[in-house]
Amino acid sequence: MKGRDLQRHLLTGVSYFIPFVVAGGILIALGFLFGGIYVFNDSNLAAQIFWIGKDAFGVMVGVLSAYIAFSIADRPAIAVGFIGGMVANRIGAGFIGGLLSGFLAGYVVLYLKKINLPAAIRSLMPVLFIPVIGTLIVGLATFYLIGPPATWLNTTFANMLNNMSVSGTVIISLILGAMMAFDMGGPVNKAAYAFALAASQNNNWVPMAAVMVGGMVPPLAIAFAMLAAKNKFTEDEQGGLTGCFIGAACFITEFAIPYAAADPLRVIPSIMVGSAVGALVSYMAGVSLMAPHGGLFIFALANKPLMWIVSIIIGAIAGAVMLLVLKPVLKADQQKKKSESKVGLDL
């Protein structure tokens, strides 16, 4: 069991989990948008949209747990992991509880699979023993062992975020923003995103607004820098200008990667600063965004849509200015040079 494996299982779970969060978050926000803040007391169309979103949120911890388990022990682990996650959800252990129940389910099933039954009853393993015994073990362990500490962590985390001092808020928003830009869609970026997701489980959507700003700023900062000074980028790089705008609008930080790969020491610190500034502005302005993905297309779901866009632009300007200061002007022949790392920007 290596750290790299654990990370791979976790990311597999997250990859199946994201569509549920996105569907749930956006439908709930749309319900509020059309039905007002007491939409849950109505029975109109807006209320139905709200409750569909709630249903998506109802199963998402189960899905996370199911697919972490799936990544560890394949198909037979899905049911065990799913049910373990639903137990975690029911007792308020949230995201953290579901994550732990998923790992537990995966390794329990992996172990059960290794037991050698007599040939006559071997076929009962996947249809009877693993679902029943696996679920019993994982369900009980989630309730008695994982539940209490995970619930405690969950509430402590929520209280910490809700009662944070101003300096604490500044630090957390700067760190979240910088993390989003650091590896542009890699594990550090996903960790910051997971932090915001965990906060959203406790109905605090301020970090989500900030991390989305942090994720949208890097390609936009690079695009701004290219518009301001063409002579600091190769022709290949300039070819990606539209891509950078699209990447920023869709919250796909990865569009910044080719630029960072070509000139990491100048690009990465610049976009980290840009994202940190953007996240700080969003956080301090108290923008909350009840949609965990979607970029520019879901700006109307923010409680302060204009302020949210302003924070993205401020972050991008900050990043672009720093990038322009650091980057030298290229000579004509350098500008023509094909960068080896140019990939996937042909839209």
């Binding site: 990370q7 990311l11 990859s15 569509p19 799936f70 796909i252 569009f255 790392s341 990939v343 996937g344």
Partner: protein, 105 residues
């Protein structure tokens, strides 16, 4: 050299496709024959046949999540490399994969 690769990442929308593009370019530059299966957010694209897998001299998993239908590779020894390495410097990552494969033989 006959190479097959699978690319996949957590989001399944960016690194997955960028890595596929990068692997393809690097393999062509090195004069290798390449087939790539993409396991992204839209499902499996360009699925490898069992024949492709059996004939391959090098199997690369450019993934940071679990690979779907792993049982197809039972008798094989895939080299796992983070898709980010291919996006960063595909030629270097391909060299690394070849070296790792050679050292395992």
């Amino acid at each position: 050299m006959k190479i097959v690769a699978i690319t996949a990442c957590a989001g399944g929308i960016a690194h997955t496709y960028m890595a596929a593009e990068a692997v393809k370019k690097a393999a062509r530059l090195a004069g290798d024959e390449i087939k790539i299966e993409i396991q992204g957010a839209m499902g499996v694209e360009n699925q490898l046949s069992q024949n492709d897998i059996e004939e391959a001299e090098l199997i690369i998993f450019a993934v940071n999540i679990g690979v779907r239908d792993l049982d197809r590779f039972e008798s094989k020894n895939p080299i796992v490399i983070d898709p980010g390495e291919f996006v960063g410097n595909a030629q270097k990552a391909l060299e690394k994969a070849k070296k790792l494969a050679a050292s395992q033989k």
